[in-house]
Symmetry: C2
Subunit: 215 residues, 2 copies
């Protein structure tokens, strides 16, 4: 993004420092997990002084919260950029699902899951994350609807999009410890046909073997 | 389970001590998460001496591995016991899905997820868990097929059962920080109708509004 003309050089430097800290936090979460992510390790990795780190994010909780928000924005931006070059038409749904599956089995999902699981037993972090989770979830849903060109006024379409995202969330967990791509690929091949039928609302109301789960 | 007549009293005591340690491990994981679960905390909670704990499970990794296996067995036993009293017939599929959803949003799933996420960045634990994960996954699949009375020779049925379990896994994650039961209930209501159609293999090949996702 181009720099806003109303920002001073000092503000620009602050933003750059913050961005480096947040990127380093995400990388730490992916590499070392929640317990291996400390503010000291993050500051070193970001090449930011301990003082500057404490100035911008005084605690691990504030750092991680900001990183999760940053992560969600980065993920949405990456998805939009990739989607912009996708062809319209017949193959689009398949490509969108492949793209989303890559996101839910990639490092950004893993970093988020580390924070989510840690927050479960950390009341302070949890209280801060709950509203953020709701917002990120809504945005992910909206983005998926947009990418699929789905019309949520069609009965069942909203639930079909939700089920797709929950399924992908589960496939992300199934991929945590080992490469689940072969099973996932086969499963998603059938899901894509199922989803295509659901989005047009013709499922179960017209004989359409092409759109069947079992074909 | 009744005690095997071939076991000595000493063996019986060992088994009881092990069971107490494994139950305490699961409880600790649920309450305090991975990082709050230490062998000392577990021994205290189980009312087992530190020496006895070290004798049976010398490291956190061996303790947690045994607990995960114990947890999977306990989960399967609980599901079977609940399923045994379910009525056959029309409402059975709905009840089976409700039961499985309760498992995937309950403490046993949460304890497992703590270990899975920790193992991602712990190579020793990860190597030990991968074969166990594969076995537990297969058993969960087989159990679900059995409970649903599904016939996997019908095309698409295997994938439908897999998708159901991956969806439930994702719904478990979505429920980690806040009560997602209202959204989950609505989503599963539509999923149940969808699944019923998929299991009979009639989906998309015959007009059947009752079995439609969108009704």
């Amino acid at each position: 993004m181009p720099a806003s003309p109303t920002r001073t050089p000092q503000q620009e430097r602050s933003r750059a420092t913050q961005a480096r800290l947040l990127e380093a936090t995400v990388e730490c979460l992916v590499e070392h997990g929640w317990s291996g992510t400390t503010t000291t390790v993050v500051a070193t990795r970001a090449g930011v002084s301990r003082g500057a780190q404490l100035h911008h994010y005084p605690t691990k909780a504030t750092l991680v919260m900001a990183a999760v928000e940053h992560l969600a924005e980065r993920r949405a931006a990456e998805i939009r950029a990739e989607a912009a070059v996708l062809p319209a038409g017949a193959g689009r749904l398949d490509r969108v699902i492949d793209m989303l599956a890559a996101v839910f089995t990639g490092p950004l999902y893993v970093a988020g899951l580390e924070v989510w699981v840690a927050a479960r037993t950390d009341p302070e972090l949890r209280d801060a994350l709950v509203p953020l989770e709701a917002r990120v979830g809504r945005e992910m849903h909206r983005l998926t609807v947009e990418l699929l060109g789905a019309d949520e006024r069609t009965p069942g379409v909203r639930e079909a999009v939700q089920a797709t995202l929950d399924l992908l969330r589960g496939l992300g967990v199934a991929n945590l410890l080992s490469d689940d791509s072969a099973r996932r690929g086969a499963l998603l091949d059938t899901w894509k046909r199922q989803l295509a039928a659901m989005l047009t609302g013709d499922q179960g109301t017209s004989p359409n073997p092409e759109a069947s789960w079992s074909t």
